[in-house]
């Protein structure tokens, strides 16, 4: 294990610029804003690292959103985000420039790429942080990371290794307003780039909305054992259609055959963070609720007023799932 680094010689907060599409880009902008706040406390600058084939427009955008420095590497081999290729290049840059802190969004790519990079650099990394702070006295980045599906939080530090790395949960911070007049330096470092040929992307297509992309749906309606039957469960599909959302299910509902496995939410299924989640006939077992805790608003329907699901709901309705759903559908249809 490498010896303790001389961390007096590291400086700067780096943010990995993920610009692939709207969603990832927003995360980058959120991180830049937070990095600026942390950088002020550490009396240092924020550098956004952008890799790709043609990245000028993104560099400008990051500059306008608060980056002090944008470090851009343009090379055809970097056109597609590829874990091994990126890890090699970025590791070289880090070893050259020695940043103090390095942040990335906890996108699927970030969560695959950053651990590989951290291992290459033999430094510490925390995952999917919900909060970041600094301790200026020690120069520590205090990383708040969830475990047990969010039941516990840990404040983690990387005292002796650099850079201090973290992936950050999307939506935790507010991006800065676009400022056309913001000034920043754009740097094009000299660095060796070679593609790793061992993984070939044969085909890539966007996930179709109609294929039930739960994780991106703004509204998710979920059904559990309490709905009682396949016919009742079907009401959820109707409601989802009305509200422009998708349908999720708990394990008992999947086991009963009312919904396919790809709709499963929870510990062994998907995590969703929609704007609105309506959960019907689910008692609120932890194995399920870890999958929905991130929703902005949770509305629960259950005939048992003491069901634990009401502990995590913003609004609860006590009543029979089927009758409430039928009534709701009836009223919504009258309006449309």
């Amino acid at each position: 294990m490498k010896k303790t680094r001389e961390h007096e010689s590291t400086r700067g907060i780096w943010v990995f610029g993920d610009y692939r599409n709207y969603f990832q880009n927003r995360v980058t902008l959120q991180l830049i804003a937070k990095a600026k706040e942390l950088a002020e406390k550490l009396a240092t600058e924020v550098t956004v690292l952008v890799l790709g084939d043609q990245v000028h427009q993104f560099a400008m955008e990051y500059a306008a959103h608060g980056a002090d420095v944008v470090m851009a590497v343009e090379h055809p081999a970097l056109k597609t985000y590829q874990v091994e290729t990126y890890a090699r290049v970025v590791a070289r840059l880090v070893e050259q420039w020695k940043p103090h802190v390095f942040l990335a969004g906890a996108t699927a790519f970030g969560r695959e790429f950053f651990p590989r990079l951290a291992k290459r650099l033999r430094t510490g990394l925390s995952a999917d942080c919900v909060s970041l702070e600094v301790d200026p006295e020690h120069g520590w980045l205090i990383q708040t990371t969830p475990s047990f599906g969010g039941e516990l939080l840990a404040d983690v530090i990387t005292p002796d290794h650099r850079p201090q790395m973290a992936t950050v949960h999307p939506g935790m911070f507010k991006e800065r307003v676009h400022d056309k007049r913001a000034v920043s330096r754009i740097v094009y470092p000299e660095v060796q780039v070679e593609a790793d040929e061992r993984v070939q992307l044969v085909r890539s297509k966007p996930e179709q909305a109609h294929k039930g992309n739960l994780e991106d749906a703004p509204v998710v309606v979920v059904g559990g054992r309490g709905l009682g039957s396949r016919e009742n469960f079907r009401l959820l599909f109707e409601l989802a259609e009305c509200l422009g959302g998708e349908v999720g299910a708990t394990r008992p509902a999947v086991m009963a055959g009312w919904a396919k496995e790809d709709r499963l939410l929870g510990q062994t299924g998907k995590n969703v963070k929609p704007k609105l989640l309506i959960t019907v006939g689910t008692s609120g077992a932890v194995q399920y609720t870890t999958g929905i805790q991130g929703a902005e608003t949770i509305i629960a329907v259950n005939r048992d007023p003491n069901a634990p699901i009401f502990q995590i709901a913003d609004l609860g309705l006590v009543g029979e799932g089927r009758s409430i759903l039928s009534l709701l559908l009836e009223k919504l249809r009258r309006r449309l």
Partner: protein, 384 residues
């Protein structure tokens, strides 16, 4: 004296619990309501070796020890008493006797299909005039050429509605001075075997209990289990093992009652507090828990003794007696904790209450168990 489960038993318990919670739990209420036993479920359980628990591998079973087998029954019963009953009876009073008393041919032809779950087994003992008094049976087995003709009525045959293999306890004819009994293995397809309508029971409704009528039912000699006249010995031996299974079954129902009651007591609020905050309710839960622990120790001790080949008549009777009375107590107490809601079918506790009662009756009533225990005590030298 190590009372903790082994790592293997921990894995077994957890695997069966997962299967039960994922595959049986959603069916349990419907099975009870419609009084139906789902064939598909039996097939799945067969593929996991649930129908050959203690039968050695070379005969298609899982080769488990008695304690592990009892755990399987407990976990199944915790989710559905009817399923636990099916598996328990099949294993302990149908498959096990054939393994213990059968010859090589019988093991191959009768035991192996049972161990693989291809045929579900029954033990036909009880008759309209013979319940606790098993010796009063009137079903006869008349020696005819190379076989026997069976005539009689067997009632309350657990698993009867879906069985493929039936062990029949019959009186040998021609009569001699002292009554002689034999046990015959009768395949359900045999001519002269007719199954009556499934009983409309208070509980265990998912188990197809029905009468079996034998009318000049011919079975070849090779279907006779053990020697002529060994019937009573075989019956008593299988009941002894069966008691452990029923004890485990009752334990499962009791544990389920405690699980749901504890959950309810935490979630139900009255007078601004959860029920579990009240001393009275705490006392009820504590009583349930203590009795269940005691039942568990008695049942598993009997299982352990059986596995070691030690005599265990008294211990298995104690386990069955105490666990069955605990199941009834736990289900009743649990229902009380649930209050009005417990009296509705929206909660499973009323089904546990209905299922539990029969545990005090079949495979030897509690009164019979007490006699067995007393006799065993009195027979021990040096004890009064």
């Amino acid at each position: 004296m190590n009372l903790e489960p082994t790592m293997k038993q921990s894995v077994i318990r957890r695997s069966v619990r997962r299967f039960a919670e994922e595959k049986i739990a959603l069916l349990a209420a419907a099975m009870d309501a419609k009084a139906e036993f789902p064939r598909a479920l039996a097939g799945e359980m067969a593929s996991l070796d649930y129908f050959g628990l203690e039968i050695p591998k070379e005969h298609g079973g899982a080769g488990l020890d008695t304690v592990s087998a009892a755990m399987v029954i407990e976990e199944l019963s915790r989710v559905s008493g009817a399923v636990g009953l099916c598996v328990s009876v099949h294993n302990s009073v149908a498959a096990s006797p054939v393994h213990e008393f059968g010859n090589a041919h019988q093991r191959k032809v009768f035991l192996e299909p049972m161990a693989r779950g291809e045929k579900i087994g029954t033990f036909c003992l009880t008759e309209p005039n013979a319940g606790s008094d098993a010796s009063a049976i009137e079903t006869t087995a008349v020696k005819t050429g190379d076989g026997y003709l069976l005539n009689g009525n067997k009632i309350f045959v657990t698993n009867g509605g879906v069985s493929g293999m039936n062990l029949v306890f019959a009186l040998n004819r021609p009569a001699e001075e002292r009554k002689r009994y034999s046990v015959f293995i009768v395949e359900s397809e045999r001519a002269g075997l007719e199954k009556g309508p499934v009983e409309d029971l208070m509980g265990m409704r998912g188990n197809p209990v029905c009468p079996l009528v034998f009318h000049d039912c011919y079975v070849p000699s090779e279907n006779r289990l053990g020697e002529e006249g060994q019937g009573l010995k075989i019956a008593l031996a299988s009941l002894s093992g069966g008691r452990i299974g029923i004890g485990a079954q009752a334990l499962g129902i009791a544990q389920a009652s405690l699980d749901v009651s504890g959950k309810y007591a935490r979630e139900r609020y009255q007078f601004g507090r959860p029920l579990c905050a009240f001393g009275g309710v705490q006392g009820l839960l504590a009583d349930m828990a203590v009795r269940i622990e005691a039942s568990r120790l008695l049942v598993y001790r009997a299982a352990s003794m059986r596995h070691q080949g030690l005599p265990h008549t008294k211990e298995s009777a104690m386990g069955k007696l105490f666990a069955s009375e605990t199941a009834v107590h736990a289900a009743r107490t649990g229902l009380q904790i649930h209050g009005g809601y417990g009296y509705t079918k929206a909660y499973p506790i009323e089904r546990y209450y209905r299922d539990a009662k029969v545990c005090e009756i079949y495979e030897g009533t509690s009164e019979i168990q007490r006699m067995v225990i007393a006799r065993s005590l009195l027979a021990e030298k040096g004890k009064s």
